[in-house]
């Protein structure tokens, strides 16, 4: 079963992901010394730092880093959109920050060690680390975090994928309108089997023939959205290469949509199943609502699982590829010839991983869509 394989892969990548994050967490001193990749390039003879190299790639950024020429970092500037209570709405390009070295209009990208005072509801003040975020120097001289809706690297990549998806499917839709009842051609014939796969292998078996058409547009959208973004993430050059589906905010929104649709479409028997599960002894429901509690936790656990699975799988894939790439530089620091030798092995592994990731890109899109479909199926299932 593909689901079984998908789950096993999920666990595998989960494990690898935590392993890698633990390894990087065990070197906190190094991390603090070279907090941003841009800084790191300005110092000569500085040892290569794989964790900042890897996390610089997989995490978001205010500009889209392309490559370095000598010590100069070349990147695509992206719009920064921040709203602060003192200065109102500010929109400017991220190039104004000069890769995090300069402040503009009182905003700058926080360095390591910079903290913002937060006052919680009980009136206790706490310091929170804001490294890498845009912070604002208030008139009082204190730092504050403005509302930040900047178009970051991931969001720019997201916009590109949105345009690509819209272009692909609107042109395919046009092709269907132009040639009704004819064999598909070109892009149409490439996408049609996948559309049919989602319909016949995902939607119909898990939701049922009666209700599947209500959920099919969402399932198709989410499938292609995840798949295309996964694939774009494997392309190492912009507009690909960003870690869109490996961003927890993105997977959170996707999982939220699944949760929203499940909740809205849930039938009476679905809710009854949660709050008053039939076939369960009464003492599990009264006086302590043990069973309903478990069921309600389940309602929220399902989308959270969806969110974490996709995020972890895709991020893990990127980390592994970057890890193999880092090996070349780590060994090259010991001896350039050793680095050259390792590069052969590393590149071979990266190629292997990329093929594996091509598979994972599809499997994760499939798993997310399939589980969403199963949740929808549960929501509309009629119990007798």
């Amino acid at each position: 079963m593909i689901t079984g394989k998908g789950l096993r892969l999920t666990f595998l990548f989960f494990g690898l992901f935590f392993l890698v994050s633990m390894l990087t967490a065990s070197e906190p001193e190094q991390q603090e010394q070279h907090s941003t990749p841009a800084e790191h390039h300005n110092e000569d003879n500085e040892p290569f730092d794989p964790s900042s190299f890897m996390f610089g790639h997989i995490s978001d950024g205010y500009d889209w880093h392309l490559f370095d020429i000598g010590h100069k970092s070349i990147s695509i500037p992206l719009p920064v959109i921040v709203y602060s209570r003192e200065k109102g709405l500010n929109v400017f390009m991220s190039s104004k920050f000069h890769h995090g070295h300069a402040a503009y209009k009182g905003f700058h990208i926080a360095h390591a060690g910079e903290t913002v005072k937060k006052i919680n509801k009980e009136g206790e003040a706490s310091e929170s680390d804001v490294e890498g975020k845009i912070v604002e120097t208030l008139n009082s001289g204190e730092l504050a975090v403005p509302i930040d809706i900047s178009v970051t690297k991931n969001i720019a990549a997201l916009f590109f994928s949105v345009l690509l998806i819209l272009f692909m499917f609107l042109s395919v839709a046009k092709a269907y309108k132009r040639n009704p009842n004819k064999a598909p051609k070109g892009l149409q014939s490439w996408l049609e089997p996948v559309i049919l796969f989602v319909r016949d292998e995902i939607a119909i078996p898990s939701i049922g023939k009666k209700n599947y058409h209500k959920f099919l547009p969402y399932l198709l959208t989410v499938f292609f959205f995840i798949w295309i973004n996964n694939l774009l993430g494997l392309i190492p050059i912009p507009p690909g290469g960003a870690n869109v589906t490996g961003n927890i905010a993105v997977t959170m929104v996707l999982a939220f949509f699944t949760f929203l649709i499940t909740t809205i479409r849930g039938t009476k028997s679905y809710w009854q199943h949660i709050f008053n599960t039939p076939g369960v002894p009464l003492w599990l429901k009264l006086p302590i609502p043990l069973m309903p509690l478990v069921e309600v936790i389940g309602v929220f656990a399902k989308p959270i699982v969806l969110m974490v699975r996709l995020f972890a799988n895709i991020t893990a894939g990127h980390i592994i590829a970057m890890g193999f790439l880092s090996l070349i530089f780590i060994f090259a620091e010991i001896n350039p010839y050793l680095g050259g030798g390792v590069s052969i092995v590393s590149i071979a592994f990266i190629i292997f991983m990329t093929f594996l990731e091509l598979l994972v890109a599809f499997i994760q899109a499939y798993v997310f869509t399939f589980l969403s479909a199963i949740y929808f199926g549960m929501a509309v299932e009629e119990h007798h």
Partner: protein, 164 residues
Amino acid sequence: MDLLLPHTGTIFWMLIAFSIVFFILKKFAWKPILNAIKAREDSIEEALRSADRAKEDMQQLQADNEKIIAAAKQERDAIIKEARALKDTIIDDAKTKARSEADKEIEKAREAIKSEKTAAIKEVKEEVAKLSVIIAEKILKEKLAHGEEHKELIDKYLRDIKLN
């Protein structure tokens, strides 16, 4: 870790972007695409069904044809049989007719031959009689010159004639 904390800006843009994609695709892509696929599947199914029906019709037609051909063959055989019988009777009739005709002709010829023969014999007899008379006259003329002998001869003839 920063990686595990969802960023508000990303959530904001993702909500907008995904909602737009979902809305536009649902309205302008999935609806026409799924409808077109459904329509095509229906038309293919319809075509297959009508092909099946045509096949059945063909088989029916073929069975009918075979029946007709079998009937025609049977009829042909009957006609041939009848014709053969007719031919035989006609030939037989003709044969018997011809035989009787021939017999009649032969009979007629025989009769004719018989009468001709009788006539011929009669003629020959008359001729012989005439010649006999002539011969007799000549003989008589010669013999009568010898008296006695004549008398004897005449007697002898007379006797012979009487005997006849």
